[in-house]
Amino acid sequence: MDTNLSYTLFNLRKMRKEMKLNTIVWILLVVLICLSTMFAENGFESAYILIAGLSVVKFLSVISQFVEVKHAHVVWKLVSTLFVVVYFLGIIILY
């Protein structure tokens, strides 16, 4: 097979996989958004911890899959993770 064609097909397969992953992450996000509201509506005492925790998962899912930080240099992965950890700890400590 021609090298260019092989490379293009490799990329196409990779992109199809990415699109499937995007759909899975989107479904996950919708479920997590609904769960957060359900926890808030139930109003149990530690709901805020769960809601903040779910926000961390949502944030990391969007930044990793949609923004594609998963393909970026480790520094950008660290910056994103550290940021959301500060957010989570800030809420837990200050609440």
């Binding site: 260019n4 490379y7 293009t8 990329n11 196409l12 992109m15 990415e18 699109m19 995007n22 759909t23 992450v25 989107w26 996000l29 919708v30 958004i33 609904c34 957060s36 509201t37 926890f39 808030a40 509506e41 709901a47 805020y48 809601i51 903040a52 779910l54 926000s55 949502k58 944030f59 969007v62 930044i63 899959q65 949609f66 923004v67 594609e68 930080v69 393909h71 970026a72 240099h73 520094v75 950008w76 910056v79 940021f83 500060v86 957010y87 800030g90 809420i91 200050l94 609440y95």
Partner: protein, 195 residues
């Protein structure tokens, strides 16, 4: 070679997705909203009754639906970039348009929410909770509005064939900006509406 530019940027510290300048903006914006969110939590502790009563005025179900609308818009934006990398310009433009319409829908719902608040006489100076509410959601609203202008331009440019798998940096940067709006909303929505 189609798609070669994607591989070239993978893992390069100077080329985060959307470009390093866009990332400086993102970091600046995220930390601004982080600061506001944490100050909000501190004030909430001191004025618990006022914050609890004010939160009850907000509609969390409407907020949840609007969050899903914005996240879905971001999803279509990601699909649009993927389709552009495949040189499928028609699909890329279509997904961009869906993302754009959902973004407008988000602002429409937000506008209705604002109108309802104003009708009730709940303005910027109503109380501390609503000062935060107007500041945080208003600032986010402006970001989304700017994003919509950006997406509209990108949609027209893709339709005209200005971008393709070799020339897509602007589209990637716009997508990153749009996802930043998602990220900010993910942080402020639970603080204002749920917790």
């Amino acid at each position: 070679m189609k798609g070669k530019n994607i591989k070239a940027e993978v893992g390069n510290i100077y080329y985060p997705p959307g470009g390093i300048l866009m990332w400086f903006i993102i970091i600046l914006e995220l930390f601004t909203f982080l600061g506001a969110a944490l100050v909000f939590v501190v004030y909430r502790k001191d004025m618990l009754q006022e914050f609890t009563e004010s939160k009850a005025i907000l509609n969390p179900i409407l907020g949840t639906v609007n969050t899903i609308v914005l996240i879905t818009s971001g999803y279509f934006m990601a699909l649009s970039v993927n389709k552009l990398r495949e040189d499928n310009l028609n699909k890329s433009a279509l997904f961009m348009l869906i993302g754009l319409v959902l973004g407008i829908a988000f602002l429409g719902v937000k506008g209705m929410e604002y109108y309802h608040k104003i009708e009730l006489g709940i303005g910027f100076n109503y109380n501390t909770f609503f000062t935060f509410y107007w500041l945080m959601t208003g600032f986010h609203f402006v970001h989304v509005l700017f994003g919509i202008v950006l997406l509209a331009y990108m949609y027209l440019a893709i339709k005209k064939g200005k971008y393709n798998s070799q020339e897509l940096f602007d589209v990637e940067a716009s997508a990153t900006y749009w996802h930043m709006c998602d990220l900010i909303w993910i942080l402020i929505f639970p603080i204002l509406y749920l917790i």
